[in-house]
Symmetry: C2
Subunit: 350 residues, 2 copies
């Protein structure tokens, strides 16, 4: 069995699980083994593998690889719990581990356990790719010819098993012949926009302009942005959502300028057990990332080496700033209706 995306390669009988080192992009395309549990957790922490949907897929494959080495039931439960905790904001990861956990608990004493886990990971991969296509179809229909679209962080083929969430919408619209221009926030501190979204758009030939995060406001005021599309790491039951830090500020700016603002995410990002944004845990990261830049090219510090720093990896955008949510199940049109619509769209398992 094999699966491959822009940033993940799974070959059960061959090279095992490989992830594209997203910290080395855009200059170096380096593939790293991710069969080992500790290695995968370190890849997640170091953001070599990143993007909420991709993390869930990658963790599922990793668990399947650990099972293939002959690990027993308790070892696999422990591994799933460790993977589940590697990125506390990403509900997709928890959802993927819960799916794998269900298979594990149902079949832990059977000889076919490893095969079943591998099949479940493949199913999660295939479903994520299909979800991307569904989001792209719904979202692309929103985009008018000639729009300038601002995006934040990276939400494309690198971040998912398919064509992406927000960037997948842009790609699908572009491929359908809609003329558009993408404004790419660099996304400090980890520069996913400057390093990864530029890389993807360049490969696809989609016109874009890179700006620093603090330039978005003046570009909006100049009339060159007609829409904002971003990803989401977790959507609460009331439509509040967590995403890469900086998203909330973009949402406030979009509202001020009357620009439609849409998170794009699959249903697995919606967590009906989280009532609102205040209940979403926000991961804080190390000071070195803000005192300078940390990448595979090394560390380049520019602030004083003892500068006190605050480094939340995510922020929460309240539902009132959301024009509509683009989900694989459709476009949920207004923030006021989010809770109702989400409930109506919820799969039975939620």
């Amino acid at each position: 069995v094999k699966r491959a995306s822009l940033s993940l390669r799974y070959d059960a009988a061959g090279s095992g699980l490989l992830i594209l080192d997203q910290q080395a992009l855009p200059d170096v395309e380096r593939w790293l083994s991710a069969d080992d549990l500790d290695a995968m957790i370190e890849h997640i922490h170091a953001l070599r593998v990143r993007g909420a949907p991709l993390i869930g897929v990658a963790a599922a494959f990793c668990l399947a690889r650990v099972a293939a080495t002959g690990a027993d039931g308790p070892e696999l439960v422990y591994a799933a719990l460790r993977l589940r905790a590697a990125r506390p904001t990403a509900v997709n990861l928890m959802w993927a581990m819960d799916r794998m956990g269900s298979v594990l608990l149902a079949h832990q004493d059977e000889a076919t356990l490893a095969e079943r886990l591998a099949a479940e990971a493949v199913a999660i991969f295939d479903e994520d790719a299909a979800l991307c296509d569904a989001m792209a179809a719904h979202g692309a229909a929103l985009i008018a010819d000639g729009e300038g679209i601002l995006t934040h962080c990276n939400t494309g083929g690198l971040a998912t098993a398919g064509i992406g969430t927000a960037l997948g919408v842009i790609r699908r619209a572009w491929e359908a012949g809609t003329r558009l221009h993408v404004w790419v926030d660099e996304t400090r501190p980890l520069l996913q926009g400057a390093r990864l979204t530029t890389y993807e758009l360049g490969r696809l030939g989609i016109p874009y302009t890179l700006i620093t995060d603090n330039m978005a406001a003046t570009v909006m005021r100049s009339g060159r942005i007609q829409r904002v599309l971003v990803g989401a790491d977790r959507i609460a039951a009331n439509g509040d959502f967590a995403n890469k830090v900086g998203t909330y500020g973009v949402a406030v700016l979009a509202a001020h300028h009357g620009i439609p603002f849409h998170p794009v995410a699959p249903w697995s990002t919606v967590d009906l057990r989280t009532p609102d944004g205040a209940a979403i845990p926000i991961e804080e990261r190390g000071a070195a990332e803000v005192r300078g830049v940390v990448s595979n090219k090394g560390t380049h510090r520019w602030a004083p080496d003892d500068a006190p720093v605050f480094n939340p990896a995510f922020d929460v955008t309240p539902n009132a700033l959301v024009t509509s949510l683009v989900l694989d199940t459709g476009v949920v049109p207004t923030a006021d209706l989010v809770a109702v619509r989400l409930a109506a769209h919820a799969p039975a398992s939620s």
Copy 2:
């Protein structure tokens, strides 16, 4: 005659004009000669000397040094025009060069010309320091005990001949015993907040936290910011003002969260000949600054080396987002009254 500030040293009979290389801070305190016209223009372009008030002071001293070498009237007029054009957004620079130009035209055939130009430059320096004290006194009275204050870019002793504009207000309040905490925007792309404001606050022992620009929104939402103080490179007659790129976004965020927002600037920043913000020219800088970071430590590129970039150095904040202007002449309380108040405060020479 000697004068010295945190970032400029003038010693007519000794070392001449020296500027502290602000691109080498915070790690290295390196003083560079600025007696030569071409060198000074390059220092301004490379932001080794920066801060709208300081640029005017430094250019005035440079012109005096050129005069001291025996340059004649036409040469000095040409030098003044070149200096005047080195940073098109900074009205202080134009104002300082116009003052020097008036002396030049009145005394160009006299043996005392060089002395008169030097005396005028010293007067500009002394006045700028006094203006800082006046702004600090007016602004510090606004700050309540325990406030969190967000600032953008660098507006302190490095940027002026005195204690600064926005950062001078903070320093004066702190030294008067007001407890406060400063939130420092890193200020991409040139990182004046991360490199320079942190350096000044650290030297002064004022508590601060460094954040990336895109974190300001979530910190405001958390209730930890009660006031925003920023500088201004040019204030138009209607109260619109240009300042370091990112200021406009901060102003929108402050308005959204109900946080008072104040530009702090001397009267020389007000340009009554500019009717509104749309008439302020905005300098665009090179792509390398956005594709990565450019400093005296070298260049560290992280985006694709052909990434299309937009790099405006400044943006314009409309008067509607200004709670009050802190000027050396006093606090102008509401945006609606700005044009009237400014006119009432205008010196006869305007």
